[in-house]
């Protein structure tokens, strides 16, 4: 059962390479639907994995999995129409890579073995590389090259970190499986020096993939060059997968009594990312890069919140879920804008409110959500993180945090107003089809609904996920 949900997209992905070119459109939606149903079943029944040395159904894994499933299904529906409207070479490669990408991300969420986690995260890089190269331009090959090389080298450091954690087991004379769950249980007996060193390497390694500054340089390029549905997946869920690797290692650190050490480092990287995003967001000239920098900001917020622990960790989990929902909807809107105006530059757009009113509503709603306005969940997430930071007495850090968020908001709204109401250069090429609008609405509405009515099972799962690092309200 647990393993089948990994296999379904992988098999479908391989199949897509051999089927006729356009059949991938339907296959994406079908696989997305089956995957979503299986994830919901997995959430309800929470079965034991067959290969329980390698795989396990953990609360944090389930949270990520359900988000991935929901997003992929909605993005697949959007992609069907997007592929009809946009011209894409080698469509079967695109569809196949999307499915393999889904399979590798599912593998990340369900893997419990520290090395299997590494294999899965590296596999996500490899499966998503062809997606970024879809447009076959000079800029896209450059983005792909940067993405594959920087992420592979970064993730290689995470492998070194995982090996060092194995070493800390040898030195501490611990004989246990190398799974996150068993390591968390025996954490107290691991050699602290090597565990710390391993954590740093893992944080730098997976942090590269997550987009933490200063290792974020690949992210704006990759997200802006990929076709919008792929950008939505990259930003919405791939970053979460890398975060999962850091989160699970952080749990081991907390269980070993080294939570302060790992927390401080997470906070430093988190703040650095928020500040970097604030610096670069002001002078952006392309709207997809703008969204990419906003992802770096949000990953920074999540790392910062996790570092604080307690209520902050709970807030980070909320931000993680809502960022996925809102950011993927924003990237899908950017796809509509790109098809409509045939320009990536903010200067090339304008009058969106008049020309594409439905896309405008989704874009503006998404913007309000991502900037931390109620009634969207990021508001509560950030609020919890700020309260937790004040309680823990990190006054300096939290002032930088709030200031940077204000700067980012100012930069963001300037660009959004330019896109929505600024002078428009030409007529647009696109009719707003319903299937390219309502996935965005569903994502935003989900975010709003989850704010006011969170099912008990969801609350309980988040609470369980952050229990080890002192989370919960």
């Amino acid at each position: 059962m647990v393993e089948t949900i990994i296999l379904i997209p992988l098999v479908a992905g391989i199949l897509a390479f051999f089927l006729p070119r356009t059949s991938g459109r339907l296959l994406l939606v079908l696989t997305g639907a089956v995957h979503l149903v299986s994830s919901v079943l997995l959430w309800i029944y929470r079965p034991e994995a067959l290969l329980n040395d390698y795989f396990a159904v953990t609360p944090e894994g389930l949270l990520s999995l359900i988000v991935i499933s929901l997003l992929f299904f909605l993005i697949a529906i959007y992609t069907r129409s997007y592929l009809e409207a946009a011209e894409i070479h080698a469509e079967h490669v695109f569809a196949g890579s999307m499915l393999l990408f889904l399979g590798s991300m599912t593998l990340v969420t369900l893997s419990d073995h520290i090395m299997v986690m590494w294999i899965a995260i590296e596999a996500t890089t490899l499966a998503s590389a062809p997606l970024i190269y879809t447009h076959r331009s000079g800029a896209s090959i450059e983005a792909t090259w940067k993405y594959v090389l920087i992420c592979s080298v970064g993730i290689a450091l995470a492998l070194l970190g995982s090996v060092l954690i194995a070493l800390s087991m040898d030195i501490g004379n611990v004989d246990a499986p190398m799974s996150f769950s068993s390591l968390t249980q025996v954490a107290g007996r691991l050699d602290p020096l090597w565990l710390k060193t391993g954590f740093i390497f893992i944080l730098v390694g997976y942090g590269t993939k997550m987009g933490l500054a200063p290792m974020h340089t690949w992210l704006p390029d990759a997200h802006s060059e990929a076709p919008s549905p792929a950008s939505a997946l990259l930003s919405g869920v791939l970053l979460n997968c890398a975060y999962l690797g850091i989160f699970k290692t952080n749990k081991i650190m907390h269980a070993a009594g080294l939570g302060d050490f790992s927390g401080t480092i997470l906070m430093v990287f988190g703040l650095a990312s928020i500040v970097a995003a604030a610096t670069f967001i002001l002078k952006q000239t392309e709207y997809k890069r703008l969204l990419a920098y906003s992802s770096i900001e949000n990953m920074g917020i999540i790392a910062f919140g996790t570092g604080i622990g307690g209520l902050g960790a709970y807030g980070a989990m909320l931000c993680l879920i809502h960022h996925s929902l809102i950011k993927s909807s924003l990237f899908l809107c950017s796809g509509n804008i790109l098809i409509g105006y045939a320009s990536r530059a903010i200067e090339g757009t304008g009058q969106l409110a008049k020309r594409m009113p439905k896309t405008f509503v989704a874009l503006f709603g998404g913007f309000a959500g991502i900037s931390g306005f109620p009634p969207f969940g990021i508001f509560f997430g950030e609020l919890f993180i700020i309260i937790a930071a004040f309680r823990a007495g990190h006054y300096g850090a939290v002032s930088i945090f709030i200031l940077s968020i204000c700067v980012i908001f100012a930069g963001f709204i300037k660009h959004i107003i330019r896109i929505s109401f600024g002078p428009s250069p030409s007529t647009i090429r696109m009719e707003e089809q319903p299937t390219m609008i309502w996935p965005q609405y569903v994502l935003l509405v989900t975010s709003v609904v989850l704010c006011f009515w969170m099912p008990d099972t969801l609350y309980e799962t988040i609470r369980l996920a952050v229990a080890t690092i002192g989370g919960g309200i």
Binding site: M115, E142, T144, W145, V148, L149, A156, A166, I171
Partner: protein, 213 residues
Amino acid sequence: MMDPVDTLLAMVLLSVLISFGSSRLPALIKVIAFQGVAVSIVPLFMGHEMTWGGIVFTLATLMIRGIGIPVYLSRAIKKVAIHREVEPVVGYHASLLAGLVLIVAAIYVSPKFNLPVGKGYILLLPSAITLIVAGMFLLMARRNAIAMVLGYIMMENGIYLVGTTFSMRAQHIVEFGILLDVLAGVMIMAIILQNIKKTFNDVNTTLLRTLKE
């Protein structure tokens, strides 16, 4: 007489120096192939108990790291490289000096880690550190995209050396997964290389400067 492990590793250290001083890509690939073979067979000489699974895995590693990846890359080079130079950012003499300093530093710091595992093999930890840092050095100090891929493989070889010699606990199936990932990664990098060549008519990474902040 020296232990076979240390003899092999001494040659690995020398090969790092060769790679720093050489301007030609084919020579660099030969170095990578040698290092791939060396790191795959070192565990055989370390007196760990050898199971059938272990031997099969060692052979598979040897095939992929020592033969598969280098052959694949040298084919890719024939397709893409007009200039078979590595186009250094840091000159060869400076690189050689840096390499020497690196090896001396690695040998100097290694005993301070005081690791209980792998004792008796004085060059084990220094070689691993040297390979990892040298790989990063090639990534930063060469402009040629193929040389950067080779740097990545050198770094991977170093990490593999740490993984197999200091800790024998990972199961072979998992190790094999890692190996497949590395292989697939190198293949994808080679495909990207061919496309870079097609688009820019060169594999010099200074041409990749359009996406800059």
